[in-house]
Amino acid sequence: MHIFEFIRPKNSAAAIAAAAQSKTAQQGADVRFMGGGTTLIDLMKLNVETPARVLDINRLPLDKIELMPDGGLKIGATVRNSDLAYHPKVQQDYSVLSQAILQGASAQIRNMATVGGNLLQRTRCVYFRDTAMPCNKREPGSGCPAITGHNRALAILGASEHCIATNPSDMCVALAALEATIHIQGTKGSRAVAFGDFHLLPGNTPHRETVLEPGDLITHVTLPPPVVGTKHLYLKLRDRASYEFALSSAAVVLTIASARITRVRIALGGVGTKPWRSPEAEAVLIGKPANDANFRQAAEAALRNAKPQTENKFKIELAKRCLTHALRTAAAS
Protein backbone atom coordinates (compact mmCIF):
# COMPACT_ATOMS: atom_id res chain seq x y z
CA MET A 1 0.00 0.00 0.00
CA HIS A 2 1.27 3.46 -0.83
CA ILE A 3 1.59 6.00 1.95
CA PHE A 4 -1.27 8.48 2.23
CA GLU A 5 -2.42 11.30 4.44
CA PHE A 6 -5.43 10.40 6.58
CA ILE A 7 -7.79 13.31 7.16
CA ARG A 8 -11.10 13.47 9.00
CA PRO A 9 -12.89 16.52 7.56
CA LYS A 10 -14.91 18.56 10.06
CA ASN A 11 -17.93 18.83 7.79
CA SER A 12 -19.14 18.16 4.25
CA ALA A 13 -17.85 21.51 2.99
CA ALA A 14 -14.33 20.69 4.20
CA ALA A 15 -14.57 17.22 2.67
CA ILE A 16 -15.66 18.65 -0.67
CA ALA A 17 -12.94 21.33 -0.65
CA ALA A 18 -10.27 18.71 0.07
CA ALA A 19 -11.59 16.30 -2.56
CA ALA A 20 -11.82 19.06 -5.16
CA GLN A 21 -8.01 19.16 -5.22
CA SER A 22 -8.00 15.76 -6.90
CA LYS A 23 -7.33 15.70 -10.65
CA THR A 24 -10.13 13.19 -11.10
CA ALA A 25 -12.90 11.54 -9.12
CA GLN A 26 -12.53 8.43 -11.28
CA GLN A 27 -9.92 5.65 -11.45
CA GLY A 28 -6.58 6.86 -10.11
CA ALA A 29 -8.01 9.69 -8.00
CA ASP A 30 -5.37 11.15 -5.70
CA VAL A 31 -7.99 12.04 -3.10
CA ARG A 32 -10.54 9.46 -1.98
CA PHE A 33 -13.45 9.51 0.43
CA MET A 34 -13.32 6.57 2.81
CA GLY A 35 -16.62 4.99 3.77
CA GLY A 36 -16.65 1.41 5.00
CA GLY A 37 -13.36 0.74 3.22
CA THR A 38 -14.48 -2.64 1.93
CA THR A 39 -13.66 -1.80 -1.69
CA LEU A 40 -11.11 0.98 -1.29
CA ILE A 41 -8.78 -0.64 1.26
CA ASP A 42 -8.88 -3.88 -0.70
CA LEU A 43 -7.83 -2.05 -3.88
CA MET A 44 -5.25 0.04 -2.03
CA LYS A 45 -3.61 -3.16 -0.79
CA LEU A 46 -3.41 -4.30 -4.42
CA ASN A 47 -2.02 -0.88 -5.48
CA VAL A 48 -4.94 -0.55 -7.88
CA GLU A 49 -5.94 2.56 -5.93
CA THR A 50 -3.11 4.79 -4.71
CA PRO A 51 -4.65 7.94 -3.22
CA ALA A 52 -2.29 10.46 -1.65
CA ARG A 53 -5.08 11.59 0.66
CA VAL A 54 -7.86 9.61 2.27
CA LEU A 55 -10.81 11.56 3.67
CA ASP A 56 -12.65 9.68 6.40
CA ILE A 57 -16.31 10.69 6.03
CA ASN A 58 -17.66 8.13 8.49
CA ARG A 59 -18.29 10.72 11.19
CA LEU A 60 -20.10 13.23 8.98
CA PRO A 61 -23.85 13.43 9.68
CA LEU A 62 -24.80 11.41 6.59
CA ASP A 63 -25.95 8.28 8.39
CA LYS A 64 -29.71 8.75 8.71
CA ILE A 65 -32.65 7.03 7.06
CA GLU A 66 -35.57 9.46 7.00
CA LEU A 67 -39.12 9.45 5.73
CA MET A 68 -39.70 12.36 3.35
CA PRO A 69 -42.86 14.54 3.29
CA ASP A 70 -43.87 13.05 -0.08
CA GLY A 71 -43.78 9.53 1.40
CA GLY A 72 -40.44 8.64 -0.17
CA LEU A 73 -37.30 7.65 1.68
CA LYS A 74 -34.05 9.57 2.18
CA ILE A 75 -31.02 7.36 2.77
CA GLY A 76 -27.77 8.96 3.95
CA ALA A 77 -24.58 8.10 2.08
CA THR A 78 -22.87 6.56 5.10
CA VAL A 79 -25.82 4.40 6.15
CA ARG A 80 -24.44 0.89 6.49
CA ASN A 81 -25.81 -1.70 4.11
CA SER A 82 -27.10 -3.87 6.98
CA ASP A 83 -28.93 -0.93 8.60
CA LEU A 84 -30.63 -0.20 5.30
CA ALA A 85 -31.54 -3.84 4.61
CA TYR A 86 -33.05 -4.34 8.08
CA HIS A 87 -34.85 -1.00 8.26
CA PRO A 88 -38.58 -1.73 8.81
CA LYS A 89 -39.70 0.76 6.16
CA VAL A 90 -37.32 -0.74 3.59
CA GLN A 91 -38.37 -4.28 4.42
CA GLN A 92 -42.02 -3.33 4.14
CA ASP A 93 -42.17 -0.94 1.18
CA TYR A 94 -38.92 -1.45 -0.73
CA SER A 95 -38.41 -5.13 -0.13
CA VAL A 96 -36.45 -5.65 -3.36
CA LEU A 97 -33.72 -3.42 -1.91
CA SER A 98 -33.58 -5.31 1.36
CA GLN A 99 -33.46 -8.64 -0.47
CA ALA A 100 -30.72 -7.47 -2.84
CA ILE A 101 -28.48 -6.18 -0.05
CA LEU A 102 -28.93 -9.30 2.08
CA GLN A 103 -27.96 -11.50 -0.87
CA GLY A 104 -24.73 -9.57 -1.31
CA ALA A 105 -21.39 -9.98 0.46
CA SER A 106 -21.35 -11.24 4.07
CA ALA A 107 -22.85 -10.01 7.34
CA GLN A 108 -19.53 -8.43 8.34
CA ILE A 109 -19.12 -6.60 5.04
CA ARG A 110 -22.75 -5.42 5.11
CA ASN A 111 -22.07 -3.97 8.58
CA MET A 112 -19.17 -1.96 7.16
CA ALA A 113 -20.11 -1.06 3.59
CA THR A 114 -21.94 2.23 3.08
CA VAL A 115 -24.67 3.10 0.60
CA GLY A 116 -22.45 5.69 -1.09
CA GLY A 117 -19.59 3.20 -1.29
CA ASN A 118 -21.80 0.49 -2.74
CA LEU A 119 -22.85 2.93 -5.49
CA LEU A 120 -19.14 3.15 -6.33
CA GLN A 121 -18.31 -0.52 -5.90
CA ARG A 122 -15.62 -1.55 -8.38
CA THR A 123 -15.61 -4.47 -10.76
CA ARG A 124 -14.22 -7.85 -9.71
CA CYS A 125 -12.62 -8.39 -13.13
CA VAL A 126 -9.34 -10.15 -12.29
CA TYR A 127 -7.37 -8.09 -14.79
CA PHE A 128 -8.51 -4.84 -13.20
CA ARG A 129 -7.34 -6.13 -9.82
CA ASP A 130 -3.92 -7.30 -11.06
CA THR A 131 -1.46 -4.46 -11.68
CA ALA A 132 0.85 -6.87 -13.56
CA MET A 133 -1.77 -7.05 -16.34
CA PRO A 134 -2.95 -4.45 -18.83
CA CYS A 135 -6.41 -3.01 -18.20
CA ASN A 136 -8.07 -0.10 -19.97
CA LYS A 137 -10.05 0.75 -16.86
CA ARG A 138 -6.95 0.96 -14.66
CA GLU A 139 -4.41 2.12 -17.28
CA PRO A 140 -6.28 3.76 -20.18
CA GLY A 141 -4.98 2.53 -23.53
CA SER A 142 -3.13 -0.50 -22.15
CA GLY A 143 -5.59 -3.03 -23.57
CA CYS A 144 -8.19 -5.49 -22.33
CA PRO A 145 -6.85 -9.01 -21.76
CA ALA A 146 -10.28 -10.10 -20.49
CA ILE A 147 -11.71 -10.10 -24.01
CA THR A 148 -9.54 -13.07 -24.95
CA GLY A 149 -8.92 -14.27 -21.38
CA HIS A 150 -10.89 -15.28 -18.33
CA ASN A 151 -14.26 -13.69 -18.91
CA ARG A 152 -16.76 -16.24 -17.64
CA ALA A 153 -18.16 -13.80 -15.06
CA LEU A 154 -17.92 -10.69 -17.23
CA ALA A 155 -20.51 -8.59 -19.02
CA ILE A 156 -22.75 -9.58 -21.90
CA LEU A 157 -24.61 -6.25 -21.95
CA GLY A 158 -23.12 -2.79 -22.37
CA ALA A 159 -19.56 -3.94 -23.09
CA SER A 160 -17.26 -2.24 -25.57
CA GLU A 161 -14.11 -3.32 -27.39
CA HIS A 162 -12.22 -1.57 -24.59
CA CYS A 163 -13.84 -3.06 -21.50
CA ILE A 164 -16.18 -5.92 -20.61
CA ALA A 165 -16.04 -5.59 -16.80
CA THR A 166 -19.22 -6.38 -14.88
CA ASN A 167 -20.66 -4.06 -12.29
CA PRO A 168 -20.76 -6.33 -9.20
CA SER A 169 -23.32 -4.54 -7.01
CA ASP A 170 -26.60 -6.13 -5.94
CA MET A 171 -27.85 -3.01 -4.13
CA CYS A 172 -27.51 -0.97 -7.33
CA VAL A 173 -29.70 -3.39 -9.29
CA ALA A 174 -32.52 -2.87 -6.79
CA LEU A 175 -31.99 0.91 -6.78
CA ALA A 176 -32.24 0.90 -10.58
CA ALA A 177 -35.57 -0.91 -10.42
CA LEU A 178 -36.79 1.47 -7.68
CA GLU A 179 -35.82 4.50 -9.78
CA ALA A 180 -33.73 6.01 -7.02
CA THR A 181 -32.15 9.45 -7.24
CA ILE A 182 -28.58 10.13 -6.19
CA HIS A 183 -27.90 13.44 -4.48
CA ILE A 184 -24.49 14.98 -4.88
CA GLN A 185 -22.91 18.02 -3.29
CA GLY A 186 -19.97 19.53 -5.12
CA THR A 187 -17.96 22.68 -5.54
CA LYS A 188 -20.77 24.21 -7.61
CA GLY A 189 -23.58 23.27 -5.23
CA SER A 190 -25.99 20.37 -5.04
CA ARG A 191 -27.50 18.32 -7.81
CA ALA A 192 -29.70 15.27 -8.18
CA VAL A 193 -28.89 12.52 -10.68
CA ALA A 194 -31.41 9.91 -11.80
CA PHE A 195 -30.09 6.47 -10.99
CA GLY A 196 -29.90 5.43 -14.64
CA ASP A 197 -27.71 8.42 -15.46
CA PHE A 198 -25.20 7.93 -12.64
CA HIS A 199 -23.15 5.02 -13.99
CA LEU A 200 -21.53 5.33 -17.41
CA LEU A 201 -21.10 2.72 -20.11
CA PRO A 202 -17.42 1.91 -20.70
CA GLY A 203 -17.30 2.97 -24.38
CA ASN A 204 -13.76 4.14 -25.05
CA THR A 205 -13.37 5.63 -21.55
CA PRO A 206 -13.77 2.64 -19.20
CA HIS A 207 -11.79 4.48 -16.52
CA ARG A 208 -14.78 6.80 -16.20
CA GLU A 209 -17.45 4.84 -14.33
CA THR A 210 -19.75 7.56 -12.99
CA VAL A 211 -20.67 11.20 -13.51
CA LEU A 212 -18.72 12.22 -10.40
CA GLU A 213 -16.29 15.14 -10.71
CA PRO A 214 -13.51 16.13 -8.28
CA GLY A 215 -15.06 17.37 -5.04
CA ASP A 216 -18.37 15.61 -5.61
CA LEU A 217 -19.67 14.05 -2.41
CA ILE A 218 -22.65 11.72 -2.55
CA THR A 219 -24.72 12.92 0.40
CA HIS A 220 -27.82 10.74 0.11
CA VAL A 221 -30.07 8.64 -2.07
CA THR A 222 -33.81 9.13 -2.30
CA LEU A 223 -36.48 6.61 -3.21
CA PRO A 224 -39.82 7.70 -4.68
CA PRO A 225 -42.92 7.01 -2.57
CA PRO A 226 -43.77 3.31 -2.60
CA VAL A 227 -46.40 2.19 -5.09
CA VAL A 228 -49.31 0.53 -3.33
CA GLY A 229 -49.81 -3.14 -4.05
CA THR A 230 -46.47 -3.79 -5.76
CA LYS A 231 -44.73 -7.14 -5.57
CA HIS A 232 -40.97 -7.07 -5.06
CA LEU A 233 -38.41 -9.72 -5.81
CA TYR A 234 -34.63 -9.96 -6.11
CA LEU A 235 -33.39 -13.25 -7.53
CA LYS A 236 -29.65 -13.90 -7.60
CA LEU A 237 -27.97 -16.84 -9.35
CA ARG A 238 -24.35 -17.60 -8.50
CA ASP A 239 -21.75 -20.34 -8.27
CA ARG A 240 -22.40 -20.98 -4.57
CA ALA A 241 -25.41 -20.39 -2.35
CA SER A 242 -24.02 -17.42 -0.42
CA TYR A 243 -21.17 -14.90 -0.28
CA GLU A 244 -20.60 -14.83 -4.03
CA PHE A 245 -21.11 -12.33 -6.82
CA ALA A 246 -23.99 -12.81 -9.23
CA LEU A 247 -23.64 -14.61 -12.54
CA SER A 248 -27.08 -13.24 -13.17
CA SER A 249 -29.63 -11.47 -11.02
CA ALA A 250 -32.96 -9.76 -11.50
CA ALA A 251 -34.76 -7.06 -9.53
CA VAL A 252 -38.47 -6.98 -10.24
CA VAL A 253 -41.08 -4.48 -9.02
CA LEU A 254 -44.47 -5.53 -10.32
CA THR A 255 -48.06 -4.30 -10.04
CA ILE A 256 -50.87 -6.54 -11.24
CA ALA A 257 -54.54 -5.54 -11.46
CA SER A 258 -57.25 -7.85 -12.81
CA ALA A 259 -54.57 -10.37 -13.86
CA ARG A 260 -52.85 -7.76 -16.05
CA ILE A 261 -49.56 -6.04 -15.45
CA THR A 262 -50.21 -2.36 -14.88
CA ARG A 263 -46.71 -1.31 -13.85
CA VAL A 264 -43.35 -3.04 -13.91
CA ARG A 265 -39.73 -2.10 -13.29
CA ILE A 266 -36.96 -4.53 -14.20
CA ALA A 267 -33.21 -4.39 -13.69
CA LEU A 268 -30.55 -7.05 -14.17
CA GLY A 269 -27.29 -7.65 -12.31
CA GLY A 270 -24.18 -9.70 -13.02
CA VAL A 271 -24.58 -9.31 -16.76
CA GLY A 272 -24.03 -5.61 -17.47
CA THR A 273 -21.18 -3.14 -17.36
CA LYS A 274 -23.51 -1.04 -15.21
CA PRO A 275 -26.64 -1.85 -13.17
CA TRP A 276 -28.88 -2.84 -16.07
CA ARG A 277 -32.38 -1.39 -16.19
CA SER A 278 -34.38 -2.98 -18.99
CA PRO A 279 -37.05 -0.70 -20.46
CA GLU A 280 -37.31 -3.23 -23.32
CA ALA A 281 -38.54 -5.95 -20.98
CA GLU A 282 -40.85 -3.53 -19.18
CA ALA A 283 -42.43 -2.45 -22.49
CA VAL A 284 -43.22 -6.05 -23.41
CA LEU A 285 -45.16 -6.60 -20.19
CA ILE A 286 -47.22 -3.45 -19.79
CA GLY A 287 -50.94 -4.23 -20.12
CA LYS A 288 -50.28 -7.93 -20.69
CA PRO A 289 -51.55 -10.88 -18.67
CA ALA A 290 -49.09 -12.03 -16.05
CA ASN A 291 -48.20 -15.43 -17.49
CA ASP A 292 -45.11 -17.47 -18.32
CA ALA A 293 -45.25 -16.82 -22.06
CA ASN A 294 -45.17 -13.07 -21.52
CA PHE A 295 -42.46 -13.31 -18.88
CA ARG A 296 -40.28 -15.27 -21.28
CA GLN A 297 -40.93 -12.71 -24.03
CA ALA A 298 -39.85 -9.96 -21.67
CA ALA A 299 -36.65 -11.87 -20.91
CA GLU A 300 -36.00 -12.33 -24.64
CA ALA A 301 -36.36 -8.57 -25.07
CA ALA A 302 -34.05 -7.81 -22.15
CA LEU A 303 -31.26 -9.96 -23.62
CA ARG A 304 -31.86 -9.18 -27.31
CA ASN A 305 -28.69 -7.10 -27.57
CA ALA A 306 -26.57 -9.40 -25.42
CA LYS A 307 -23.14 -10.25 -26.79
CA PRO A 308 -21.43 -13.21 -25.16
CA GLN A 309 -17.72 -13.30 -24.38
CA THR A 310 -15.64 -16.38 -25.22
CA GLU A 311 -16.43 -18.11 -21.91
CA ASN A 312 -19.91 -16.95 -21.00
CA LYS A 313 -22.43 -17.67 -23.72
CA PHE A 314 -24.34 -19.56 -21.02
CA LYS A 315 -25.11 -16.29 -19.27
CA ILE A 316 -27.56 -15.23 -21.96
CA GLU A 317 -29.89 -18.17 -21.31
CA LEU A 318 -29.16 -18.00 -17.57
CA ALA A 319 -30.18 -14.34 -17.44
CA LYS A 320 -33.37 -15.06 -19.40
CA ARG A 321 -34.36 -17.86 -17.05
CA CYS A 322 -33.40 -15.73 -14.06
CA LEU A 323 -35.70 -12.91 -15.13
CA THR A 324 -38.52 -15.26 -16.18
CA HIS A 325 -38.38 -17.05 -12.85
CA ALA A 326 -38.18 -13.78 -10.91
CA LEU A 327 -41.27 -12.43 -12.70
CA ARG A 328 -43.16 -15.69 -12.18
CA THR A 329 -42.27 -15.84 -8.49
CA ALA A 330 -43.10 -12.18 -7.92
CA ALA A 331 -46.43 -12.47 -9.71
CA ALA A 332 -47.38 -15.50 -7.61
CA SER A 333 -46.39 -13.83 -4.33
Binding site: I3, R8, I41, S106
Partner: protein
Protein backbone atom coordinates in the same frame (compact mmCIF):
# COMPACT_ATOMS: atom_id res chain seq x y z
CA UNK B 1 -7.92 -16.22 25.50
CA UNK B 2 -6.24 -13.52 27.55
CA UNK B 3 -2.86 -12.98 25.96
CA UNK B 4 -2.98 -9.34 26.97
CA UNK B 5 -2.76 -10.18 30.65
CA UNK B 6 0.64 -11.66 31.51
CA UNK B 7 -0.67 -12.90 34.88
CA UNK B 8 -3.10 -15.28 33.20
CA UNK B 9 -0.45 -16.97 31.08
CA UNK B 10 0.96 -20.33 32.15
CA UNK B 11 4.31 -19.97 33.95
CA UNK B 12 6.27 -22.11 31.51
CA UNK B 13 7.13 -20.53 28.15
CA UNK B 14 4.44 -21.65 25.71
CA UNK B 15 5.03 -21.73 21.96
CA UNK B 16 2.75 -18.76 21.59
CA UNK B 17 4.51 -16.76 24.29
CA UNK B 18 7.89 -17.58 22.80
CA UNK B 19 6.78 -16.45 19.34
CA UNK B 20 5.13 -13.40 20.78
CA UNK B 21 8.14 -12.19 22.70
CA UNK B 22 10.75 -13.19 20.14
CA UNK B 23 8.68 -11.79 17.28
CA UNK B 24 7.71 -8.45 18.73
CA UNK B 25 11.21 -6.98 18.55
CA UNK B 26 11.50 -8.00 14.92
CA UNK B 27 8.08 -6.55 14.14
CA UNK B 28 8.92 -3.26 15.81
CA UNK B 29 12.19 -2.85 13.94
CA UNK B 30 10.54 -3.79 10.64
CA UNK B 31 7.74 -1.32 11.25
CA UNK B 32 10.21 1.43 12.04
CA UNK B 33 12.17 0.59 8.91
CA UNK B 34 9.30 0.54 6.46
CA UNK B 35 7.73 3.87 7.30
CA UNK B 36 8.95 6.14 4.51
CA UNK B 37 10.40 9.50 5.42
CA UNK B 38 7.79 11.21 3.28
CA UNK B 39 4.95 9.92 5.43
CA UNK B 40 2.74 12.77 6.53
CA UNK B 41 -0.27 11.24 8.22
CA UNK B 42 -2.25 13.51 10.47
CA UNK B 43 -5.81 13.29 11.68
CA UNK B 44 -7.25 16.77 11.52
CA UNK B 45 -9.61 16.46 14.43
CA UNK B 46 -7.84 14.05 16.70
CA UNK B 47 -8.90 14.76 20.28
CA UNK B 48 -6.82 12.00 21.77
CA UNK B 49 -3.74 12.91 23.74
CA UNK B 50 -1.29 10.03 23.61
CA UNK B 51 -0.46 9.14 27.17
CA UNK B 52 1.53 6.04 26.53
CA UNK B 53 2.78 6.60 22.99
CA UNK B 54 5.06 3.98 21.51
CA UNK B 55 8.32 4.58 19.65
CA UNK B 56 8.38 7.80 17.69
CA UNK B 57 7.86 6.39 14.20
CA UNK B 58 8.08 9.09 11.56
CA UNK B 59 4.72 9.75 9.93
CA UNK B 60 2.86 7.81 12.58
CA UNK B 61 -0.39 9.22 13.87
CA UNK B 62 -1.57 9.11 17.47
CA UNK B 63 -4.80 7.25 18.18
CA UNK B 64 -6.59 5.80 21.14
CA UNK B 65 -8.19 2.41 20.65
CA UNK B 66 -10.44 0.92 23.28
CA UNK B 67 -9.90 -2.82 22.98
CA UNK B 68 -11.70 -5.20 25.32
CA UNK B 69 -12.42 -2.36 27.70
CA UNK B 70 -8.81 -1.26 27.91
CA UNK B 71 -7.55 1.99 26.42
CA UNK B 72 -4.47 1.84 24.21
CA UNK B 73 -2.81 5.10 23.21
CA UNK B 74 -0.80 4.28 20.14
CA UNK B 75 1.04 5.76 17.22
CA UNK B 76 0.34 4.01 13.95
CA UNK B 77 1.35 4.35 10.33
CA UNK B 78 -1.83 5.53 8.54
CA UNK B 79 -1.76 2.38 6.41
CA UNK B 80 -2.05 0.08 9.39
CA UNK B 81 -5.20 -1.98 9.20
CA UNK B 82 -7.19 -2.53 12.36
CA UNK B 83 -6.14 -6.18 12.09
CA UNK B 84 -2.42 -5.45 11.96
CA UNK B 85 -2.77 -2.91 14.75
CA UNK B 86 -4.51 -5.43 16.99
CA UNK B 87 -2.03 -8.20 16.23
CA UNK B 88 1.27 -6.40 15.80
CA UNK B 89 0.96 -3.18 17.79
CA UNK B 90 -1.29 -4.26 20.65
CA UNK B 91 -0.02 -7.87 20.43
CA UNK B 92 -3.42 -9.50 20.76
CA UNK B 93 -2.91 -12.45 18.43
CA UNK B 94 -6.25 -14.20 18.92
CA UNK B 95 -7.55 -12.33 15.87
CA UNK B 96 -6.20 -14.11 12.79
CA UNK B 97 -5.02 -12.93 9.40
CA UNK B 98 -6.34 -15.23 6.70
CA UNK B 99 -6.76 -13.75 3.24
CA UNK B 100 -6.24 -10.09 4.26
CA UNK B 101 -8.76 -9.14 1.53
CA UNK B 102 -12.16 -9.54 3.15
CA UNK B 103 -12.87 -12.96 1.72
CA UNK B 104 -12.41 -15.36 4.65
CA UNK B 105 -13.67 -13.82 7.90
CA UNK B 106 -10.75 -15.00 10.07
CA UNK B 107 -10.11 -11.40 11.19
CA UNK B 108 -13.67 -10.73 12.42
CA UNK B 109 -13.86 -8.45 15.46
CA UNK B 110 -16.64 -6.31 16.96
CA UNK B 111 -16.63 -2.53 16.63
CA UNK B 112 -19.25 -0.86 18.80
CA UNK B 113 -20.90 -4.26 19.18
CA UNK B 114 -21.12 -5.08 15.48
CA UNK B 115 -19.01 -7.63 13.65
CA UNK B 116 -16.66 -6.26 11.01
CA UNK B 117 -13.61 -7.44 9.09
CA UNK B 118 -10.57 -5.88 10.72
CA UNK B 119 -8.46 -6.44 7.58
CA UNK B 120 -10.59 -4.01 5.53
CA UNK B 121 -10.52 -1.24 8.11
CA UNK B 122 -7.80 1.22 8.96
CA UNK B 123 -6.93 1.47 12.63
CA UNK B 124 -7.24 5.26 12.33
CA UNK B 125 -10.93 4.95 11.41
CA UNK B 126 -11.67 3.56 14.86
CA UNK B 127 -10.12 6.20 17.09
CA UNK B 128 -12.14 6.19 20.31
CA UNK B 129 -14.43 3.33 19.29
CA UNK B 130 -15.13 0.21 21.32
CA UNK B 131 -13.39 -2.84 19.89
CA UNK B 132 -13.85 -6.39 21.10
CA UNK B 133 -11.58 -9.25 20.09
CA UNK B 134 -11.85 -12.90 21.01
CA UNK B 135 -9.65 -12.17 24.03
CA UNK B 136 -12.40 -9.92 25.34
CA UNK B 137 -15.15 -12.53 25.21
CA UNK B 138 -14.07 -14.78 28.06
CA UNK B 139 -11.16 -16.46 29.78
CA UNK B 140 -10.16 -20.15 29.81
CA UNK B 141 -11.73 -20.32 33.28
CA UNK B 142 -14.86 -18.36 32.43
CA UNK B 143 -15.60 -18.87 28.76
CA UNK B 144 -18.30 -17.06 26.83
CA UNK B 145 -21.17 -19.53 26.22
CA UNK B 146 -20.29 -19.51 22.52
CA UNK B 147 -16.68 -20.44 23.25
CA UNK B 148 -17.85 -23.25 25.54
CA UNK B 149 -20.28 -24.45 22.91
CA UNK B 150 -17.60 -24.54 20.20
CA UNK B 151 -15.52 -26.64 22.56
CA UNK B 152 -18.40 -28.97 23.45
CA UNK B 153 -19.43 -29.42 19.80
CA UNK B 154 -15.89 -29.86 18.47
CA UNK B 155 -16.61 -26.98 16.10
CA UNK B 156 -13.11 -26.75 14.67
CA UNK B 157 -10.19 -28.78 13.48
CA UNK B 158 -7.04 -26.71 12.94
CA UNK B 159 -8.55 -23.76 14.82
CA UNK B 160 -7.23 -20.98 12.59
CA UNK B 161 -10.67 -19.68 11.61
CA UNK B 162 -12.16 -20.33 15.03
CA UNK B 163 -11.77 -16.93 16.67
CA UNK B 164 -13.37 -15.31 13.61
CA UNK B 165 -16.14 -17.91 13.64
CA UNK B 166 -16.80 -17.29 17.34
CA UNK B 167 -16.80 -13.49 16.94
CA UNK B 168 -19.28 -13.83 14.07
CA UNK B 169 -21.40 -16.30 16.01
CA UNK B 170 -21.58 -14.05 19.08
CA UNK B 171 -22.63 -11.08 16.92
CA UNK B 172 -25.20 -13.23 15.14
CA UNK B 173 -27.04 -13.75 18.45
CA UNK B 174 -28.14 -10.10 18.30
CA UNK B 175 -28.91 -10.00 14.57
CA UNK B 176 -32.20 -10.80 12.81
CA UNK B 177 -31.71 -14.49 12.09
CA UNK B 178 -34.34 -17.15 11.44
CA UNK B 179 -34.49 -20.13 13.82
CA UNK B 180 -33.43 -22.77 11.28
CA UNK B 181 -29.96 -24.03 10.38
CA UNK B 182 -30.22 -22.54 6.89
CA UNK B 183 -30.54 -19.04 8.36
CA UNK B 184 -27.47 -19.59 10.51
CA UNK B 185 -25.50 -20.90 7.53
CA UNK B 186 -26.49 -17.84 5.50
CA UNK B 187 -25.42 -15.38 8.20
CA UNK B 188 -22.19 -17.31 8.82
CA UNK B 189 -21.25 -17.51 5.12
CA UNK B 190 -18.61 -14.81 5.53
CA UNK B 191 -16.50 -17.12 7.69
CA UNK B 192 -14.68 -19.76 5.70
CA UNK B 193 -13.45 -22.95 7.41
CA UNK B 194 -10.90 -24.75 5.30
CA UNK B 195 -11.14 -27.88 7.45
CA UNK B 196 -14.87 -28.00 6.80
CA UNK B 197 -16.11 -28.02 10.39
CA UNK B 198 -19.27 -26.26 9.27
CA UNK B 199 -21.78 -28.84 10.53
CA UNK B 200 -20.38 -28.65 14.06
CA UNK B 201 -20.13 -24.87 13.91
CA UNK B 202 -23.84 -24.65 13.09
CA UNK B 203 -24.56 -27.09 15.95
CA UNK B 204 -22.51 -25.02 18.39
CA UNK B 205 -24.36 -21.83 17.45
CA UNK B 206 -27.80 -23.45 17.52
CA UNK B 207 -27.16 -24.90 20.97
CA UNK B 208 -26.36 -21.45 22.35
CA UNK B 209 -29.42 -19.97 20.63
CA UNK B 210 -31.71 -22.68 22.00
CA UNK B 211 -30.46 -22.10 25.52
CA UNK B 212 -30.89 -18.34 25.26
Amino acid sequence: MSDDDPKSRPPSPTRRKFLLTSGSGVAASLLAAYVPASAKGAAEESDSAPTNAGPNIEGAVPITLRINGKEHSLRVDPRTTLLDCIRETVALTGTKKGCDHGQCGACTVHVNGRRVLSCLNLALMHDGEEITTVEGLGTPEAMHPMQASFLACDAYQCGYCTSGQIMSAVALLKEPCGPDDASVKELMSGNICRCGAYANIVDAIQQVRKRA
